[in-house]
Amino acid sequence: MLKAPHLILTAGLVSLLPASFALAAPEAAEHAAEHGSGGLPQFDVTWFPSQIFWLAIMYAILYVFFSRKTLPALSSTIENRRNQVESDMEEAERMSSEAQKVQADYESHLAATRQQATDQALSVENEIKEKSLAQAAAFRERSEKEMEKLEKSLSKAKSEAMKDIESIVTQITGDVVKKLSNLDVKEAEIKKVVNNVSGEIADKKAA
């Protein structure tokens, strides 16, 4: 940090000056004496060498102290701060990019999960639909079979009933005819008549 050439130059130059003024001193002292105390004290050459001498010493002390202690300390403090700020900034940038990555991860994860949930819901729905369709189909089949069976037994019962009715009608007709006309009509004949009549009734109904 210390620039030795400068220091030597500075000190040398300043300390050379007293010599030149010392040479001029006797003549100037007379000059000052003429003026007495009326002139500016600044132009009293008596103290010129002393002023320069002490200025040079003080300047040199300050120069050495500043260049060895104060200025390196200050510049290192400022440098440290700048480094700290820079590294903090880098750290912040890194963290912010990391946060962005995490955010992106989270979002993609969220989207995937949402998709999965939708898929699951859809598949469950489909399953339920299929199941209920299947159940409905099975139920219909079963009930159709049962209805068929019922219809069959119903029609069987009906035809039996009809047969019974025919025989009852034949018997009642034979009884009525026997009672009314005392005729003993053969059963086969009665049956024939009854069939005719019921056929007529059926024709009338159909018409």
């Binding site: 400068h6 500016l40 600044q42 008596t46 500043f66 200050l74 403090t77 400022i78």
Partner: protein
């Protein structure tokens, strides 16, 4: 009325001789010493914390550092870096002299032409020596701007030469005159106040006027103290730049 020039008188404190030369320790030397001690102590205390987040004093010292650093950067460019301690010391010495001089009963060493001349000649001599070392005889092209018509050459050369040699004179006289004039004015107004006191009650009231005026002047003088130190340092930078690079 007190002599307003009395404040500039030098009183020897410790008589001292080196050969025939009187180098007595004077009141001026005393105030130089005070300036050195104050600046060293203040800056040492200010710098010591080394804190990442500076306190007031450390902030002030860093501002001073940045101030000088930017002054050098702007006026001398990156090459001026090696003059940093020199300009820093120069600024502190002048600033201390100017501002310590505002204390009552103190001595303003920058109000002495010999002090300012010594500082200015130091810079001036450095410009010449460094310029000659760095550029050799080429340094003298400083006095001949390029693209000068041949017939104007003698005139331009003379003017440039004169302006070059006038530099230390203006540099030193500017500071000296500013400091001296300011302190004389302060003393004169203070003397008005004091002499007005002799007039009784009316004088006590009348004496307030120059005193109030002095209060304002002190603030103004503080500004001048800083401004002149700044001007001295900046001009030194600009002059030293000539030694670093020959612009024309």
């Amino acid at each position: 009325m007190a002599n307003p020039l009395k404040q500039f008188e030098i009183q020897p404190i410790v008589p001292l001789h080196i050969g025939n030369i009187d180098v007595s320790y004077t009141n001026s030397s005393l105030w130089m010493t005070i300036g050195v001690v104050v600046s060293i102590v203040m800056l040492t205390i200010a710098v010591r914390p080394h804190a990442l987040i500076p306190g007031r004093l450390q902030m002030a010292s860093e501002m001073l550092y940045d101030f000088i650093a930017s002054m050098i950067r702007e006026n001398m460019g990156p090459k001026g870096r090696k003059f940093f301690p020199l300009i820093f010391t120069l600024f502190v010495v002048v600033m201390m002299g100017n501002s310590l001089g505002l204390l009552p009963f103190s001595f303003t060493y920058t109000s002495h032409i010999i002090v300012t001349v010594a500082l200015a000649l130091m810079i001036f001599a450095m410009v010449i020596v460094l310029g000659l070392i760095k550029h050799g005889l080429h340094f003298f092209t400083l006095f001949v701007p390029p693209s000068t018509p041949m017939w104007l050459l003698p005139l331009i050369f003379t003017l440039e030469l004169v302006s070059f040699f006038v530099r230390p004179v203006t540099l030193s006289v500017r500071l000296f005159a500013n400091m001296m004039a300011g302190h004389i004015v302060l003393k004169v107004f203070a003397a008005f106040s004091v002499s007005a006191l002799a007039l009784g009650t009316a004088g006590w009231i009348a004496g307030l006027v120059p005193m109030l005026f002095n209060s304002i002047l002190i603030g103004f003088e503080l500004l001048i103290a800083y401004l002149q130190a700044y001007v001295f340092a900046v001009l030194s930078c600009i002059y030293l730049k000539d030694a670093l690079e020959l612009e024309h």
